[in-house]
């Protein structure tokens, strides 16, 4: 790992802070492996998901995080076992923001979210609609993870 890279150093710092580690401890998200930061600016994580949206109960995401956190992350659904992009027909599907957010945006496709750099251009109205989620340099990777986790695990849902 190259510690001379300020974006990588800041990400590493944020991955060690309590908001991220508390999510790891409760099984909400985690790095896909211990060596993820060796592939900078890419980094794979998984996020917990209700099985009705994706059978495995987890969604893998491959983030691109260059210039973090000055630039917003972008993330692509990823098959963590095969280490390849998740085919579009296997992206999570569901009501509300599940299918809204897991809608291919850009090339390579990012998520249609107010914290994803692939979707933010041309959506200035999201600043007012999603002030907590619209990415700014003061945000951290855990904010992106929290937004996606909320989409995939609606708290009010009782099976």
């Amino acid at each position: 790992m190259n510690l001379a890279l300020p974006d990588l150093c800041l990400l590493k710092l944020h991955l060690e802070e309590a908001p991220f580690t508390a999510g790891v401890a409760r099984g909400a998200w985690s790095l896909a492996s211990d060596s993820e930061l060796e592939h900078w600016p890419y980094c794979r994580l998984w996020i917990e998901a209700q099985p009705r949206f994706i059978e495995s109960g987890r969604v893998g995401l491959r983030f691109k995080l260059d210039n973090y956190p000055a630039s917003a992350p972008t993330a692509q659904p990823w098959d963590l076992k095969l280490d390849t992009a998740l085919p579009l027909d296997k992206w999570p599907k569901g009501p509300g923001n599940v299918s809204n957010v897991f809608k291919p945006t850009g090339n390579p496709p990012g998520l249609y979210a107010p914290c994803d750099r692939a979707a933010m251009p041309g959506h200035d109205g999201w600043k007012q609609q999603f002030p907590q989620w619209w990415w700014t340099p003061s945000h951290m990777i855990v904010d992106y993870l929290t937004f996606i986790h909320r989409c995939l695990n609606p708290a009010g849902y009782a099976p």
């Binding site: 508390a22 401890a25 509300g96 809204n100 999201w126 909320r150 695990n153 609606p154 708290a155 009010g156």
Partner: protein, 168 residues
């Protein structure tokens, strides 16, 4: 992580990590949290209650904060001076109120509110709780409600709202 614990302070929804020795008690945790700024200083430590997050009753001050299964995973802790917090939820001009432990997950209060307002089906998955107004701060599902409530108020006014859809 063996000697670390996630702690949510009074009115602080962002947790902090506290380093603890293996046999530390709840009271020691409170003192350390005060020194770390997660709880107000200058107040007798015994005035704070220590709760395991999402457990109704506080632990005794001499209780060892450890993994109940004997492993290395210590449960997150929430400290607050209120024993109960009165939560009032407003939705479509109607209100319901109830007392909850400060340690109660926001998601549990959301589920209670959805039940009280008689919502069923897809409506249940499309709701969130906001603080103070319909455009107020969105509460994090897995944060304890006391992390949004200061002392001595011991009460909060929440709004049940539709999750804003990502469109455009």
């Amino acid at each position: 992580m063996k000697n670390q614990i996630h702690l949510y302070g009074e009115g602080q929804p962002t947790p902090i990590v506290i380093d603890l020795h293996e046999n530390a008690t709840a009271l020691e945790l409170i003192v350390i949290a005060q020194k770390a700024g997660a709880l107000p200083a200058g107040i007798e430590a015994k005035e704070f209650l220590a709760f395991v997050v999402d457990v109704e009753e506080p632990v005794a001050h001499d209780h060892r904060v450890h993994d109940p299964k004997g492993g290395a995973h210590r449960p997150p802790i929430h400290c607050h001076r209120c024993h109960k917090i009165e939560i009032t939820v407003t939705f479509n001009l109607a209100k319901h109120a109830r007392f909850f432990a400060p340690s109660t997950h926001v998601s549990r209060i959301l589920q209670w509110a959805i039940h009280e307002f008689g919502l069923t089906g897809p409506d249940t998955a499309n709701k969130e709780l906001r603080l103070g107004s319909t455009t107020g701060q969105i509460l994090q599902d897995k944060a304890p409600i006391g992390s949004y409530v200061g002392h001595p108020h011991c009460s909060a006014l929440l709004y049940l709202t539709d999750i804003v859809q990502v469109q455009g």
